[in-house]
């Protein structure tokens, strides 16, 4: 067994598969998946099967899985490089009844794989703070938060987290109403970012900063969700979430300069090998 192929993992193309087999089946990787802490690679089915064996042996459910290669504890399996879909499966969840994504969720998640700031010329975030637009409460915020958190956490039941973050936002906005005279708009904005980051970080981890940016953008837009999505997607050059039916987003020829995300989320039911 030669396991020194770890250095040349750059291309996930077929040529390298034989030299870098899945450590569980020893065959070529099928639906390459990663563990979230150590990033060791396995076939999706192999690592899921192993995770079931491990959890079946335990008397108490556990939220982590020791990597078969390095024994490091991992909390989720990340799959999707092979173009089948991008998903994150938490070890403590039953793999069968996991939350299935809607097209809107996929579009939102994919936004996190494109450069931030593409809507900055349309929605002026600083102006939102300067002109104190935040004094009008946004009635769509809770629904927007729910969809956003579902997409990012890949979980259906996010109500508690929505409630928590929504509460933090509302109470922050109420608080600055009383103290705004002492502070500049920039300082308020900074405070807002820190407060929301702190609240969201335990759930969103590395995506927290981007989430706060997206949240500000949505608040600054003053739009409802449908209108906001329409603007967003037009700018990205993608199709609207309801409009596509099985076709991959961002493949239709469109006049606008198309924004190419780092990562395509392809529908699970489309052909794996094209």
């Amino acid at each position: 067994m030669n396991q020194e192929g770890g250095a040349n993992q750059s291309g996930s193309c077929s040529g390298e598969k034989e030299s870098n087999p899945c450590p569980i089946c020893l065959g070529p990787m099928v639906q390459e998946s990663y563990l979230d802490t150590c990033f060791h690679k396995f076939c999706y089915n192999c690592i899921v099967r192993w995770s079931k064996v491990v959890s079946g042996k335990r008397s108490r459910p556990s939220s982590s899985l020791a990597c078969p290669l390095c024994k490091k504890e991992n909390f989720s399996v990340i799959s999707g490089f092979d173009g089948t879909c991008f998903q994150r499966h938490y070890v403590d969840h039953n793999f069968e009844d996991r939350f299935t994504f809607s097209k809107a969720h996929k579009y939102r998640l994919q936004c996190y794989y494109s450069e931030p700031g593409i809507l900055n010329d349309i929605f002026d975030v600083l102006r939102f703070w300067k002109s104190r637009k935040y004094l009008q409460s946004n009635m769509w915020l809770q629904s927007w938060l729910k969809r956003e958190l579902q997409a990012l956490m890949q979980e259906e039941d996010v109500d508690i987290v929505v409630y928590h973050i929504h509460g933090v936002i509302e109470s922050f906005l109420r608080r600055i109403e009383q103290t705004r005279l002492k502070k500049s708009a920039e300082a308020i904005q900074e405070d807002f970012k820190i407060t929301v980051s702190d609240a969201a970080k335990p759930f969103l981890l590395a995506r927290t900063d981007r989430f706060v940016t997206e949240l500000e953008l949505f608040l600054a837009s003053g739009l409802n969700i449908e209108a906001y999505d329409a603007v967003y997607m037009q700018r990205l050059g993608w199709n609207t979430p309801g409009g596509t039916n099985g076709t991959r987003p961002a493949e239709e020829p469109i006049q606008h300069v198309e924004v190419v995300p780092y990562w395509y989320i392809v529908d699970a039911d489309s052909d794996e090998d094209g």
């Binding site: 067994m1 087999p21 450590p23 569980i24 089946c25 020893l26 065959g27 192999c46 099967r49 192993w50 064996v53 020791a66 078969p68 290669l69 024994k71």
Partner: protein, 157 residues
């Protein structure tokens, strides 16, 4: 079922290809049954098993590699973690600490390592374990060497 066969076939090919890679281990698959393997391992040097060749029998379950193979010594061996009569081996990676990333080849390597580093605190052979635990290393070594001569080396003349 299908997965275990495919994986064992991969290991078989690997063994054929890398025959010279590890001269201390010779793994052979039963021609008629891919779930039955035999291994010959050399006793590690600077241990009482040096110079001996030990035979192991592998019975691979159909859920392999999600479940570990069952391995036992066919050659008689005096070692704290090997049952003297049945050849059963007490080794964590063959039980709770099993990981599907192990192969039959790497299990052989782990067993060689166990021969060099016995764990007298979880003995299957109490006589052997007690010798080591009471600090009688020489007693353990001479017993182990005697059985290596008797069972694991070619008879002289």
């Amino acid at each position: 079922m299908q997965a275990s066969r495919a994986r064992l076939f991969k290991e078989y090919k690997e063994v054929q290809r890398e025959k010279a890679a590890d001269p201390d281990i010779q793994l052979v698959c039963d021609d008629s049954n891919i779930f039955k393997w035999t291994a010959l391992i050399k006793g590690p040097s600077e241990t009482p098993y040096e110079g001996g060749v030990f035979q192991l029998a592998f019975a691979v379950p159909e859920q392999y590699p999600l479940q570990p193979p069952q391995v036992r010594f066919l050659t008689k061996i005096f070692h704290p973690n090997v049952h003297f009569k049945t050849g059963e081996i007490c080794l964590d990676i063959l039980k709770n600490a099993w990981s599907p990333a192990w192969t039959l080849q790497s299990v052989c390597r782990a067993i060689i390592a166990l021969m060099a580093h016995p764990e007298p605190d979880s003995p299957l052979n109490c006589d052997s374990g007690n010798l080591l635990r009471s600090g009688d290393v020489r007693g353990y070594q001479s017993m182990a060497r005697m059985y290596t001569r008797l069972a694991a080396m070619p008879k002289k003349g």
